[in-house]
Amino acid sequence: MDSVKIISGNCKGCGYCVVVCPKKVLEIGESSNKMGYRYATVARPDDCIACKLCAVMCPDSAIEIFE
Amino acid sequence: MKKHFMKGCEAIAEAALRAGCTFFAGYPITPQNEIPEYMSKELPRYGGVFVQGESEVASVNMVLGAAATGARAMTSSSGPGISLKSEGISYIAGSRLPAVIVSVMRGGPGLGSIMPAQQDYLQATKASGHGGFRMMVFAPSTIQEAVDYTHKAFDYADRDRNPVMILVDGCLGAMMEPVILPEYHDNCNKQEDWVLDGCRQREPRTVLSVSLTGEPQEQFNIEMAKLYESWAGKDTEVELYEMDDAEIVLAAYGTSARIAKTAIDTLRDEGVKVGLVRPITLYPFPYEVFENLDYKRVKHVLDVEMSIPAQMVDDVRLGVLRRAEISTFGRSGGVIIGVDEIVCEVRRIAEGGAFNG
């Protein structure tokens, strides 16, 4: 499984995680969730180093990191 | 039974302690300073907490916090300070928390005068805070009553999860009378399912008075209205003095009522058929007593208050419903009514042809 998971239903598409990721793993996707936000997606899961910076930055606790 | 000779304010504080009050927060304001002073000395001896708040506002909010933990909590003030507490009292009512609030009335409005008056009847019964809540208001007229009703107030507050007010004036607060003190209650801290004590082995609880949409707020208000209505039947208290054959009825509460009783005794010696209806609960007000007077006999109702303009008279009118003449007599600003003044006024009414036809 991927080391980073976005809980898309909780994501408000703020874009913070995309910007803080040192490996450019995440991107705001094209689809919207039930709240109407275009949520973050894991575009390059293999590049994830589980540094947790995205999860630390996320205001909605919408990111889980696995190791 | 042993009697203690006590000052009104101190007796009220002692009664609260014996009722199991474990938290008091208040601010100095004449004429109730003896309440926080007494509490500051005695509460810690009983294992309770006294805080002199930085303002009346802070004090009532400390009481709100204490009440949320299940403690029996009290604050006291006088008119201007009760105005400041207005928001906090509304929050206590809106949060369904029990608390006892003592108001020792002085002259007003504004800074007013520091001498005794009864100028906060409307504030206590109709306008204690925003949002349309009600609270039970007790108006003792002796220090013994002040002790007994302060002691019981905590039970009413806990029963209803609502603030309760004890309304006295600076006279009662400052004078000394012998009193029998009530029994001690301890371990009164509540453990009910709304108390905040940390969510160990249970779901977290919230104490709040806010609603983000209309319907829940309305539902809350509907339930509270039922609670307020329930008081009228069972909790109304009133004293009738020399009312069996009264043709002139005095309506008075608190200190005015005791002065009125002395006047009635003098007038009865002169053969004037005068009596007194003394509301003890100002909310719920004893409308029924006024509604059910025998108006074939009762010709005139004289409302006697240390308030100008008179305030309780509004409620008296609602009970009398124009079936008799109503007039008011009062002094205010801290001027105490004299017995002679009431006697003269009643004589004037009796001689003034109120009984034509």
């Binding site: - | 802070a58 949320a68 905040l196």
Partner: protein, 245 residues
């Protein structure tokens, strides 16, 4: 694979009602993480303000009480004095704490109440639509300073850490920012220090968290973080203002 980072137990498993990008979400999260790590959740009572912080009613997973605007430190005093074994913290915004609540915070601090204050400062009134706050910057637009805050008529932004650290009783007074992960991690360490102080019954602690308001600053979430770096962080220096062992 094991989960090494996720939602803390002390906030609920649901979406918060804060705006997209609002750092209240981060503040809630790091406070919640500290509550979890110090095993405080089951004895915590959180005192909520009036403001966007009130929305925490739907988010925190601890006992909570909603207080009147500015009065949280007084309510917390009542709670902590009656139940000193519980963990009590206030969570307040800049209008709540530094405007209407200035007396309550100063006196709770001055009395050295054994409580912790989380002060979220975003230089604006969020909930009510963007009016000037005591911490609004000079020349900053708000709906009540539409030509920018003018010190001559509106005074200067109020620096609460500087003021509170001047009192004798407070034991820990510090200001952090939540604009980037490095600062968020430092903020969490400061919150942990403050909370440990309360557990050890050492006295009053105050943690100011610099925050944002994309909605009322009129910028996107990402722009708001840059706005913080260019504006608020230049006026409100980060650091520990008082630390008494």
């Amino acid at each position: 694979m094991d989960k090494i980072y996720g939602r803390p137990e002390s906030i609920k498993n649901r979406v918060s009602t804060y705006c997209p990008g609002c750092l209240h979400g981060v503040a809630n999260k790091i406070v919640a993480e500290v509550l979890d790590e110090l095993e405080l959740r089951e004895k915590t009572i959180c005192v909520l303000p009036v403001g966007c912080g009130t929305l925490g009613l739907f988010y925190w997973n601890v006992d909570m009480i909603s207080s009147a605007h500015g009065r949280a430190p007084a309510v917390a005093t009542g709670i902590k004095r009656c139940t000193p074994d519980k963990f009590v913290f206030c969570y307040q915004g800049d209008g709540d704490l530094a405007a209407i609540g200035l007396s309550e915070i100063m006196h709770a601090a001055n009395r050295g109440e054994n409580i912790s204050i989380i002060f979220v400062n975003n230089s604006i009134y969020g909930m009510t639509g963007g009016q000037m706050a005591p911490t609004t910057l000079e020349d900053q637009y708000s709906t009540t300073t539409q030509k920018g805050r003018n010190p001559i008529t509106e005074g200067y932004p109020m620096k609460m850490c500087e003021i509170i650290s001047g009192l004798e009783a407070p034991k820990y007074v510090a200001r952090f920012s939540m604009d980037c992960p490095k600062n968020i991690i430092k903020a969490k360490a400061g919150i942990k220090k403050a909370f440990e102080l309360q557990i050890e019954k050492k006295g009053f602690s105050f943690v100011e968290l610099m925050s944002n308001c994309p909605t009322n600053w009129g910028v996107t979430p990402l722009e708001s973080l840059e706005w913080m770096r260019q504006n608020t962080l230049k006026v409100f220096p980060l650091g520990v203002y008082k630390e008494v062992e």
